[in-house]
């Protein structure tokens, strides 16, 4: 027995770390490539945030660039373009929360009532599909359907109803991008809710039905409480990401609809940072966004805890 002690079962406490290091060296070696990549492309850029407090000059690099303190930020906060992007971001986030958020839940509830497994699988595979499309593809398809030369206007022209180029109309841009987001992601969004629904014990339904609870009372008293945790989690994620409304989607459509409607915080960093060479300015905008986002995640979690839910992490 003494020669064949299972290595892990016999693990002594942390005192013997040399032994554990030797024992687990191949496990550590396995994590090495991922850790190196994360350090180089996530942690090193994190330290690169110092450029937000500099006037970064690509020719001399981070180390020798001039320090300007909070100058970039005071410039940022007096820049109407920045406030415009912030306003757009918050507005779009709000519209998405109202219009997008309930759809996957409703679809999941509805899908859950479909009894035929075949039909259910078929519907699932169709609605998941757009999730795997690129934004270029999704926007192209919308362009073909709703754009100036698209199917909608083809129909309108054919019936002498005038034209409406939805893709270039700043007034309805918020609705347009939200419909795009719904088209692309709402179907995929039902996956978590379906999993939560599958976890609800069906005996509860049976007991309730026997006790005379109808379809809607069962939904109200069993299904929705069963979904509460995951709905709360998704809400926390959504609120925590209130400053992230999508990047590529806006990048692709900005020139068609104009920057007034289409600039959001993420594209702001790109257009007024990288594209114009004002790296420090863009980095300051990015840093602003990251800090606020962290606060939002923290706040949303507090909110979830206040409602007695786990949220993203536990208390």
């Amino acid at each position: 027995m003494s020669t064949a002690v299972p290595r892990r079962a016999a693990a002594p406490s942390r005192r013997n770390w040399r032994f554990r290091l030797r024992r687990d060296r191949s496990l550590l070696l396995m994590t090495l490539p991922a850790v190196v990549l994360l350090i180089v492309f996530n942690y090193v850029p994190l330290s690169g945030l110092v450029t937000a407090f500099q006037e970064y000059d690509p020719l001399v690099g981070v180390r020798y660039s001039e320090w300007v303190g909070l100058d970039q930020f005071s410039r940022l906060f007096t820049d109407p373009l920045f406030w415009g992007s912030l306003k757009n971001t918050l507005y779009l986030s709000f519209v998405q929360l109202i219009l997008f958020f309930p759809i996957p839940i409703a679809l999941a509830l509805l899908l859950n009532t479909v009894l035929s497994e075949r039909l259910r699988n078929f519907i699932q595979s169709v609605v998941y599909l757009p999730h795997f499309f690129s934004w270029v593809l999704a926007v192209t398809i919308f362009q073909q359907m709703l754009g100036g030369a698209g199917a909608l206007n083809q129909f309108l022209r054919g019936h002498d109803l005038g034209t409406w180029d939805v893709m270039t109309d700043p007034g309805t841009f918020a609705l347009l991008v939200t419909s795009q987001a719904i088209w692309k992601e709402a179907g995929w969004g039902i996956i978590v809710f379906l999993a939560a629904l599958a976890a609800i014990n069906t005996e509860q339904y049976e007991a309730a039905a026997v006790d005379g609870a109808g379809r809607f009372r069962r939904m109200w008293h069993i299904t929705l409480p069963g979904l509460r945790g995951v709905i709360m989690l998704m809400l926390v994620l959504r609120l925590g990401n209130a400053l992230t409304v999508g990047f590529e989607q806006f990048l692709i459509q900005r020139d068609a609809v104009g920057h007034d409607a289409a600039d959001v915080l993420d594209t702001f960093s790109f257009y007024y940072g990288i594209a114009t060479g004002n790296y420090s300015y863009g980095a300051a905008a990015g840093l602003f966004k990251s800090v606020i986002s962290l606060l939002l995640i923290w706040g949303a979690n507090r909110l979830a805890h206040a409602f007695g839910e786990d949220g993203l992490y536990r208390k």
Partner: protein
């Protein structure tokens, strides 16, 4: 179980089963549930028909238009809904185009190499962190999870990649986004669930961690590994922004998505000048069928892989890891 049998149903009791309803047939309505109302069924059917149509109809129109003759397109006044004169003309034109051909090669290349790199790194890391009480796994896990919430953002990352000489290099399209912590966590949660007895038995037989990963853990978690590979593959296939950042002017290195963007832009004057290099390669607008053929070309690989993966989506792949 007698309760099940005594429930009164409004319209007859012919289908009340003897055993608990679920065991009769997978799709059977449980005995305790009310029979559906006609209106309710109709509303449900219409809703789903609408949802399916919203996804399928645009794709149908794109495919039919790409296969239509110029005559059919002229008759329809643009996009073609009902097939009316079909031809593969657009496809042969497209595949003769050197831009599209090189883009196709680039896209497949990036997707293949990227997926292999990402999977190798992720599978190793996921297994490395999946053994309970291993040295430093808590610290490493924190190191990973932090990157999901805190990032340097666009510009610092851009500066690091260009600082390492990545501008115009292939690796700049792969390495910066090669690791998805989310995917690693999904894999890890599955690998942790691998039968501990099986692993202990292998260990007693003298197998090391590499051997255990290769011969036990990987074969027992094929489904999740395949799904994660699909996620990575789709990610690489769909990416275009990193091309815009790191090789915007080098049109020979453009992947398909970027070409699609240019075709769209040329065809409809939409995102006019994302970059200075745009629109200078071929000045004239591509015909509609040709544009649609490019759309279909970016779609086809997804559609080919999709059926093989679809059945795995239901296995709770995502939910296990959402809590991180």
């Amino acid at each position: 179980m007698t309760d099940v049998l005594t429930i009164q149903r409004k319209n007859g009791t012919t289908r009340v089963p003897k055993a608990p309803a679920r065991s009769r047939k997978r799709s059977a309505r449980p005995a305790w549930e009310e029979p559906p109302t006609t209106v309710g069924q109709a509303a449900k059917g219409l809703t789903f028909a609408g949802v399916l149509a919203v996804v399928v109809v645009p794709l149908w129109i794109v495919v039919v238009t790409s296969l239509s003759t110029q005559g059919a397109i002229n008759r329809a006044g643009g996009l073609v809904i009902w097939p009316d004169g079909l031809t593969f003309e657009a496809y042969s034109q497209m595949l003769a185009d050197t831009t599209v051909r090189s883009a196709l090669l680039v896209s497949f290349g990036i997707t293949a190499v990227g997926t292999v790199v990402s999977m190798a790194v992720s599978v190793l890391c996921a297994y490395g962190l999946s053994r309970a009480r291993s040295f430093g796994h808590r610290f490493l896990l924190t190191l990973l999870v932090v990157t999901m919430f805190v990032s340097g953002g666009l510009i610092p990352t851009f500066l690091v990649v260009t600082g390492l000489g990545g501008y115009g290099q292939w690796w700049a399209l792969i390495l910066p986004s090669a690791v998805s912590v989310f995917n690693i966590l999904v894999l890890r949660s599955f690998y942790s669930g691998t039968s501990a007895d099986l692993i202990e038995a292998a260990r007693l037989d003298g197998a090391g961690d590499w051997r255990i990963l290769w011969s036990i853990v990987l074969p027992t978690s094929r489904a999740v590994t395949a799904v994660i590979a699909l996620f990575y593959g789709v990610g690489y296939w769909n990416s275009f922004f990193n091309v815009m950042l790191y090789m915007p002017t080098d049109s020979e290195k453009w992947p398909l998505q970027y070409v699609l963007l240019t075709y769209v832009s040329r065809g409809n004057g939409m995102p006019g000048s994302l970059n200075a290099g745009f629109g200078t390669i071929q000045a004239q607008t591509a015909p509609l069928a040709l544009q649609m053929a490019v759309v279909v070309l970016t779609l086809v690989p997804l559609l080919l892989v999709y059926p093989f993966m679809q059945k795995h989506f239901r296995t709770g792949v995502l939910t296990g890891a959402i809590k991180g």
